[in-house]
Each structure stands twice: as C-alpha cells, then as structure tokens.
Symmetry: none
Subunit: 196 residues, 4 copies
DNA sequence: GATGAATGAGTGTTCATTCAT
DNA sequence: TATGAATGAACACTCATTCAT
C-alpha cells in the first residue's frame, strides 16, 4: 500500500471512528452527515467520496463492528464448552462495547429492511453457536429437553431490552453489569433439567 | 362544561384519534405534524393550540392509550388468579392492539427522557399486578422461590423484543400469536417449582 | 376571497413574477430555487408551500404565460384572415415578450418530457390556427398546393432558431424585429402560387 | 514529437473520444467531468491537465468535430454543383452523426458566449459554401433573385429545430431521415424561379 | 505527466413552530 | 377558538477544481 492508499484508508477510518463515537453517544439516525464529517475533521463532501450515501456508512460501521464481535464470540465458543461460562463471557463482550450495543438495540427496529436483515443475520450466526452448545447439553442429558430457538429468543430479547432502555435502567455505568447475574440465573433455570 | 369547552375537547380528541391511527401505521417520530393535522381534519396550527409541541401530543396519546390498557389489565387481574391465564389474556390484549404496541416498542427507546420515564412508569404499574400474583404463588409454594423482578424483566423484555422487530419476525399477521405459546411455556418453566 | 386568500394569491404571484423575471434574464434551469425565493422577497421554504417542487413552478409559469399568449393569438385570428397580417401580428406578439420566448426556445429541448410535451401541445394549438387559414387560402386557390404541416415546421423552426440564438444574432434590441421582414417574405414566397 | 509528447497526445485523444461518446448519448452540460474521465479510462485530475476547465474540453471537442464536418462539406461542394444534391448530401452527413448534432442543437444556446461564437463561426463557413453555390445559380438565372442570407437562415433554422427537438419528433430512428424530403422540397421551392 | 483524495459552496426539499387573520 | 401562510434552519447529496504524492 503506497502513501496515497494509506492516507485514504486513514481518512476512511477517521470517518468510521467518528461515526462510531457519535453512534455510541446519540445514534446515527438523528445525526447529520455534516456532523459526522466535522467530528472526523474532514470536509462534508469528503464523506461521500468514501461512502456513496449515509446508509452505506452505517452498514459499513455496523458490519465492521459486528464482524469483530462475531470473531470474538467464535473464539470464545472454541475455548469453552460450559454454557454458563460462555454466556458470562458473552455478556462481558457486550459490556465492553455497551454504548455501541445499546445504540444498536435502540436503532435497529428503525433501520431500513436491508440493513436490519443484515444485522439480524449476523445475530443469527452468533445464536447458532449458542444453539449448538445447548443442543449438545440436551443430548448429554445435562439440560432439559426444551425448545432451543424460543429459549434463545428469551435470552436475546431480554438482553436487547436492557440495552435498548439502558439509560432508563442505569443512570451511569453498565446495565449489563447490573443485570448480568439475573440474566445468567434465569437463563440457566430455563435450561436446567427438572430434577425428580 | 360549556359549549366552547365541549367543542375544544372534541377537537382535542379528533387529534388524538388521528395521531393514534398514524402512530399504529407508521409511528409518530417519522410523521410530520402537518400530516397528523390533516388526518384529524383540522388546520395545522390548531394542533399547536391543543398541544404546545409535538412531544406533548405524543405524551398525551400514549398516556391515554396506556391508561386504558392498564385498566383492562387491572380488571383482568381481579377476575383471574391463575398466572398463566393472566399472561395468556395479557398477550391477547397486546395482540388486539399489536400495531400500537409494536410502534411503541420501536419508538420508546428514542423518546426523550420525560416521555420514556412516563411510559415506563405505566409499564411498572402493570408489572406490579404480575408481581403481586407471582408473589402470592410463591408464598403458597406453587412457584419456585425466584427473583420476581428479574423474571418479569425476562418476560417483558422478550415480549418487547418480538414487538419491536415484528416486521422481521412475521411478514403479516401477529407476532404475538406466532410466539404466544412459546412465551407462556418458557415463562411458566421459570416459575415452576422444581419438583423433588 | 378573504384577506388570507388574497395574501396567499399575492405571494404566489410574487413568486411567479420573480420567476418570470429570472426566467427571462437567464433561464430557470440554471437558477436555484433559493434565488427565486430571494427575488420574490420570501423565505426559501415558502416557495415549496406554493409549489410542490421546482418543476411545478416552471410548469405553472410557462402554462400561464403561454395561455395568455394563446388567447391573444386566438383573438388575432378571429379579427384577421390575411395570412401575412396574421404572421406580422404573431411576430409582434412574440416580440412584445421576446425575452420570455427566447429563454423558452433555449430551454425547451432540455426540459423533462412531460413539460416539453405540454409546451409543444400549446404550440400545436397555435399552429392549428395557421393551418386553418392556409388551408382556406389553398382551397380558394390563393396559395399554392403545398404541404402545410412541413411549411409550418419551416416557419416555427426558423422563428425558434432566431429566438434561441437571440444573443448571437443581436447585441441588444429585438431579433424578431431585425428579421421580421425576411421571415414574412420567405414564408409568403413558399405560399405563393407559382404564376404561370 | 518525443515519446512523452506522443503519450500526452494519446491521452488527450482518449478524453476527446470519451467526451464525444457521452456528448452524443446525453450531452455534456449534464455530465460530470468525473464521468468523462472515467469513460476515458483516466484519472479525474488528468482531465484538468489537458484542459484547464470543463469549457475548454467542450470547445476542443466541438471544434475538432466541426472541423472534420466542415472538411467533408468542402469536399462535397467541390464535387457537386447541384444545390439539391448538395443539400441532400449535407443532410446525409448530419444524419450520419445525428446524435452529435442533436446534442449540439440542444446545448448550443446554453453555452457561454465564446464557445457559442466559435461554433457559429464554424457554421458560417459551411453556410458560405451554400451561399456561393446559390449565388452562382442566381447569376445564371437558375434560381429566383432571393435574399440568400435569410433563405439560409430558414434552412439552417429548420434543420436546427428538428434536431434540437429530435426526441419529440421521433421516438427512435432519425429525424433527418423522416423530414429530409420535406426540407429539400420546401427549400427548393424558395429557390425556384417564379416561372412566368 | 498522471493520479485521485480532498474541498466546500451549492442543490432541491422538509418540517416544527409562529402569528396575523 | 381556529386557521393556514410563512418561516428558516436543517438535511443528504453533487461537482468542478486543486494539489500533494
């Protein structure tokens, strides 16, 4: 990569970085492209040199972040087989980027179809990992024979709920931290095999 | 109330009614006040005679609707003590106004603090009813000794999740209908006392 | 019409008037709506209260002007049967609004289909009048038995040519005035019955 | 010319060639310089290395094309003395590049003074040839003693009119072909000596 | 000589809110 | 009380031209 390309890449990253910051602070939908450009320290028009339109910027931003996140999850699943450890670490990962995920949870339902579908597809891949581990647990009679898909909807739905209303649940600090133990407890309760 | 006041009240209701219809169809955030006025059959300026600004209209609209809803829930609780019947009927009530609740779930996280707090307070009242019934069940040793608050977060969070992403979960028809049994099943599984 | 409506009508006319002035001076295509608004002494947004978009303003402007023009032609035809008098007066009418017709000739080929069709339809109505008079002349053996449609294309085409390149043909003053006699002469030459 | 100069000349020609293609397809006024560069397979900035600004490119493009065209006309005049044959062949030449001349007719009135003057000068040279031939015909008493200049304005004006509104006159195919015979007929009718 | 990233003024259009009628 | 015309800041996006590489 020559100096030119490096410079271009750097500008692109400045935009993404600024956009991410703003995304975390107040979401992208209600942020003007001119504000993003200003935060990135570039001219307004430059933004459209790197992204054909606002939506593309949002897609790129979310795709990059979710890809990073997805990789971490994959790693996590490989290293651990214990579902409650996985869940704990999964929540840790979310907590590490809680601002980001909180904004995402808030804005997701308002995105255009294509973008929403793309993000939900990413989520479904993560869900797959959980599904697999739980399925194994059921086969080994560690967990009760529950409907995995709907159980996961409960889990993801609840996490999403906390995140989307983060500012209502905590004044500052992390919602995930506040509710981590409850989430894990209840999720494990659902999985647990009724002893008898 | 004299004739003038009656007329004023009537106009106010026309606005609310029109706003509700639009709220259900496509949400309020992306609807211009001029469109609401037009749907109500009044002049654009008239809207601001009844409501100082757009936010106040939304607050009023949601307050009225949620109060009605709350009353129905209260009635339902009085008539029934069985938690799974209550939940089933609660979901029926939501389904009956699913467009409304879906829009609410989508927009709620984006409302300004005051409005969001108001709505969440309404929700907390409803939650109280559930809380009470579950508490009784635990005292009577029908249910396991779980943390009621977090269990309810699971329930409300999940319902909210389905509603906010309604269009991603079903192409047409009701999300609640589609997932009602799963929601009830899992919720009851959490409550169930481990038999031993 | 109450004061409100009069005021609105007045603003609308201010816009049309300003737009017409600008249209004559430099054409509408390369004029920003903000400039039109400024020239009309109104806020930029106000323009879009009276016209849903720029095109509609142009359509209205041209339609009104061409309707006025068309009425004058109709009157002229009624009062006169002599084709060279009609042509002379027709050219006088164009000359009276030469700035307008010059801009129109310049911009017409660049308008969107709908608008172009609309204007050409107006022109075809005017052409009809000429057609009728010439047809009568031919029947009465005053004129040669020529193809009327193509003869009129020659006439209108030539007038259009002079108008569209007005600034190249005259530095100031009227192109129509400069070439009036030539236009009439040649047109009459085409019509003339070859004596023999 | 050394290697570098040859290369430069080659790039310049690539730009002209691409610009001509685009000019024919949709005109230059509404085409971005970046699109022209892309079509030429060069960098956007390179275009401004060969032409100081967009206008210069247009001037060069039209000048080259019209010079070629002018040469063909000159040749044609040398080989033929018959005015209706010349006219027929002139129309054939236009038809062979109808896209080009149609765009030119549409855009010409909107060009800046300098460019317009340049193009009209080119046209006047072509006109000269016609003038000469007609003048000879008049001296030889083949044609009527008409005003040659204004007769030619009629001819060129009409052709220009058809070309500039080409898309309104024909949906596809050639306008010139459609109206060739009419143009020739009427033009010859003007020239014809009144027999008596 | 060629590149292409960057610029920034400019475009048509929207909309919550105000205020004279 | 009701009206609806007017406001003007805001928006996403375009483009001829510049200049460091």
């Amino acid at each position: 990569m020559n100096k030119r390309q490096i410079q271009k890449q750097f500008t692109r990253e400045k935009i993404i970085r600024a956009a991410k910051q703003i995304f975390i602070e107040k979401g992208i939908i209600n942020t003007a492209t001119s504000q993003i450009a200003e935060a990135a320290g570039i001219a307004h028009g430059t933004l459209f040199l790197h992204f054909p339109n606002k939506d593309s910027l949002v897609i790129e931003l979310l795709d990059v972040e979710l890809a990073k996140f997805s990789d971490k999850i994959k790693q996590l699943i490989i290293e651990t087989t214990d579902i409650d450890t996985i869940l704990k670490q999964y929540l840790d990962l979310i907590q590490a980027e809680e601002g980001f995920f909180s904004s995402l949870a808030r804005e997701l339902p308002n995105y255009k179809n294509e973008l929403r579908r793309k993000i939900l597809f990413r989520e479904s891949l993560i869900r797959e990992h959980f599904h697999q581990v739980i399925e194994n647990g059921i086969e080994q009679k560690i967990y009760a024979d529950i409907d995995i898909a709907s159980t996961l909807n409960f889990l993801f739905g609840t996490i999403n709920y906390y995140l989307s209303l983060k500012t209502s649940f905590v004044q500052q600090g992390s919602v995930i931290e506040k509710f981590r133990d409850q989430i894990i407890d209840i999720f494990m309760k659902i999985l647990e095999k009724t002893k008898g």
